[in-house]
Symmetry: C2
Subunit: 92 residues, 2 copies
DNA sequence: AGTGTTTACGGCGACCGTAAATATG
DNA sequence: CATATTTACGGTCGCCGTAAACACT
């Protein structure tokens, strides 16, 4: 499980399909698709149901999504220097 | 920031130096060193003070470590299938 | 000499993009 | 034909390991 895979999962859940998610991640749609498939294979569970016009989270996907979001938030928080965090807090 | 970099940071903090951490991560010591350096560069802060016989966390490293640990714990938790989680709970 | 980290340098795998195939309306 | 995902196929970038250099004792 890698960071970019988590970002792709979150993007698809927000965008509603793989194509728009790929645009928003500045990556080609097949690359994003591959990474989602790879993660699903690693987990042994589908995360998305590929419908005709939209990709919807499976029950497993629904359980996985908040975990992915939380991890990414914590990664973002850890990526900021303490001095910069102070500035961000002021900005809020 | 990538998963393996977080694992390397935690390993060094536990092992006390880069060499033993590399062994425990089943990776060469230069590779681990490169990844730590790369992460430090990305963060803009040193995470470790390289002493004569040991590597010690800097203040920034002290602040970063628990974040890294938490992220890795959550990744591990997210990597387990629901059915497997039930088994693990029974095992506890 | 011995321990520990960094630098240098290729090799190889993995992600990525393009293109083609598959699926559905 | 249009939209959406998967499969196929190279190219390229990055991680890794080996070897050498550097630092300190």
């Amino acid at each position: 499980m890698e960071m970019h895979q988590l970002r792709y999962v979150v993007a698809v859940s927000r965008a509603g399909n793989f194509s728009r998610a790929a645009e928003q991640c500045h990556v080609s749609q097949p690359s994003l698709s591959q990474q989602i498939l790879k993660l699903e294979e690693e987990l042994g569970e589908r995360l998305f149901d590929r419908m005709k016009r939209e990709a919807k989270l499976t029950p497993h996907g629904e359980a996985f999504l908040p975990r992915a979001v939380k991890i990414l938030e914590e990664v973002d928080a850890a990526s900021v220097k303490p001095a910069m965090r102070m500035i961000c807090c002021v900005a809020d």
